[in-house]
């Protein structure tokens, strides 16, 4: 079975221009192939920045990010979900999905759109979609790239809770089927508890890993009790770091 790439993150320093403190200094994180890692931590800690560095969007730092042995920018296109839906307003939902991958056919895009529950919305422009629908199109866009690496920045915010359950299930199924490497940022411990097999908690400044927890039961097989246990573990770790 195909596997996702291994990630080797070694950031000597990341500092925003003019900022007095470094955001990261000496942060190392290795991510095993096909693992699902949640980056959890308070807002402003640098979770999204770290994800952007992995994606090759932010290259202004000293250190290295290797994806399957290649530099981040040279690695194959990852599937990426931004914190905002970031759809191209002049393209329909279907064309937004196809924009991510020049080889994606109309049928493939329709199929992915159907998987996120928007089969009938292909011809609509972003302004005709609700916030939650836009987020699902953004998720579909990340999936259509058929990437071995999925990077998701708060992918489940502003979705209504019943929908989150469905998207979680879709996501767990996808991960079980195609085994990509997934790194997702979330401030909600319930997302991490539902999907991740490893949760990396970031804290302090410069940010460092304050807890690195393994959540061994596969996402698709977690029952309610497991979810609650995992969530309690994560909440506990976050609280103890805050004390």
């Amino acid at each position: 079975m195909a596997t996702g790439p291994e990630l080797k993150i070694d950031i000597a320093e990341k500092r925003f221009p003019g900022a007095p403190d470094a955001l990261f200094a000496g942060l190392r994180l290795d991510i095993a192939p096909s693992s699902v890692v949640a980056l959890v931590g308070p807002s402003g800690i640098g979770k999204s920045t770290l994800l952007r560095m992995i994606a090759g969007i932010d290259t202004d730092f000293s250190g290295s990010v290797e994806i399957g042995g290649q530099a981040a920018r040279a690695a194959p296109t990852p599937g990426f979900v931004f914190q905002d839906p970031r759809l191209l307003p002049w393209l329909t939902a279907i064309d937004n999905i196809r924009a991510a991958d020049p080889d994606c056919t109309h049928e493939q895009a329709m199929e992915v759109l159907g998987r996120v529950g928007l089969a009938g919305a292909g011809a609509l422009y972003p302004y005709q979609l609700s916030g939650g629908m836009q987020r699902r199109v953004a998720l579909a866009r990340a999936l259509v790239v058929n990437a071995r690496l999925l990077l998701l920045d708060e992918p489940f915010v502003s979705l209504d809770r019943t929908l989150v359950g469905e998207i979680h299930a879709l996501f767990a199924r996808l991960v079980a089927e195609s085994r990509p490497t997934v790194v997702f940022v979330s401030h909600l411990t319930e997302d991490a508890a539902a999907l991740a097999d490893r949760a990396v908690l970031l804290g302090h400044r410069p940010a460092c890993i304050v807890a690195d927890m393994s959540l061994p039961i596969a996402g698709a097989e977690r029952d309610q009790a497991t979810l609650e246990r995992y969530r309690a573990m994560l909440d506990g770790a976050l609280e103890s770091d805050g004390d």
Binding site: I57, R86, D101, P102, Y125
Partner: protein, 241 residues
């Protein structure tokens, strides 16, 4: 509705104020018909439209290219923004007179004068457009490893288009006006030239007939081409009621 209303008011006023210098729309329509069928109206109209079209196309192409450079390349903006300011504020008539003196009373001077009047406006509008480009969408191109050509087609051109359309719209209204003024100033034909001759004879019916014919063309262009084009290109924008 607004145009029939205007014509009705004009007709009523001309019936109240009976004067040779205030012809009714029906009289003007008659003169226009005669000028079109027997006179030089169509030839003059063609000449003016050709001049306007040439100036428009060249000015838009030139202005868009320079505007992009102004918006993207900082030193170009720093070095030449003063020139742009001068260009924006230079009286149209001065440009025309200077070019007529330098290059002679010919077609080239006229078209060049119109272009030079319009280009700064296009540059300024396009520059603002380029400056307002979204970094977020640039990131989208980066993360999905879009080729330069794809970025151009999917991200760059669609962001620029509303500004180019705005420049086209304001530019057109400017060109319609100044082409006529420059034709009055010096040319061998065209609506403006003919109106200046009629002015010498106080031929108000002829002036209004020529003006109306010209306005009809402008309106046809606006409703037949510009608006449908805008609606089609900008259909992704929410409709505001």
């Amino acid at each position: 509705m607004s145009l029939p209303l205007l014509l009705t008011i004009w007709q009523v006023l001309s019936m109240i104020i009976v004067n040779r210098l205030f012809p009714s729309p029906i009289m003007v329509a008659q003169v226009m018909w005669d000028a079109a069928t027997e006179g030089r109206l169509l030839g003059d109209l063609g000449k003016t439209l050709w001049r306007a079209a040439m100036s428009f196309v060249i000015a838009m192409a030139l202005g868009t290219a320079i505007g992009i450079a102004f918006g993207r390349v900082r030193w170009v903006d720093r070095l030449f923004s003063g020139w742009l300011l001068v260009g924006l504020n230079l009286p149209a008539i001065v440009i025309a007179i200077v070019l007529y003196i330098w290059l002679g009373l010919n077609e080239l001077s006229l078209i060049l004068a119109v272009i030079l009047n319009k280009v700064p406006l296009v540059i300024a509008t396009v520059r603002e457009g380029v400056r307002s480009f979204s970094d977020d969408l640039d990131e989208l191109g980066t993360v999905f490893r879009m080729s330069a050509l794809r970025r151009l087609r999917l991200i760059f051109i669609p962001q620029l288009t509303p500004f180019v359309l705005a420049a086209a719209r304001t530019g057109l209204s400017l060109i319609w006006k100044i082409v006529l003024v420059f034709e009055v100033l010096g040319s061998d034909g065209g609506i403006g030239y003919r109106i200046s001759i009629m002015f010498q004879f106080f031929n108000i019916s002829g002036i209004l007939a020529y003006t109306t014919a010209f306005i009809l063309v402008v309106l046809a262009f606006e409703y037949g081409i510009m608006r449908p084009l805008e609606r089609r290109i900008l259909r992704w924008r929410p409709v505001r009621n």
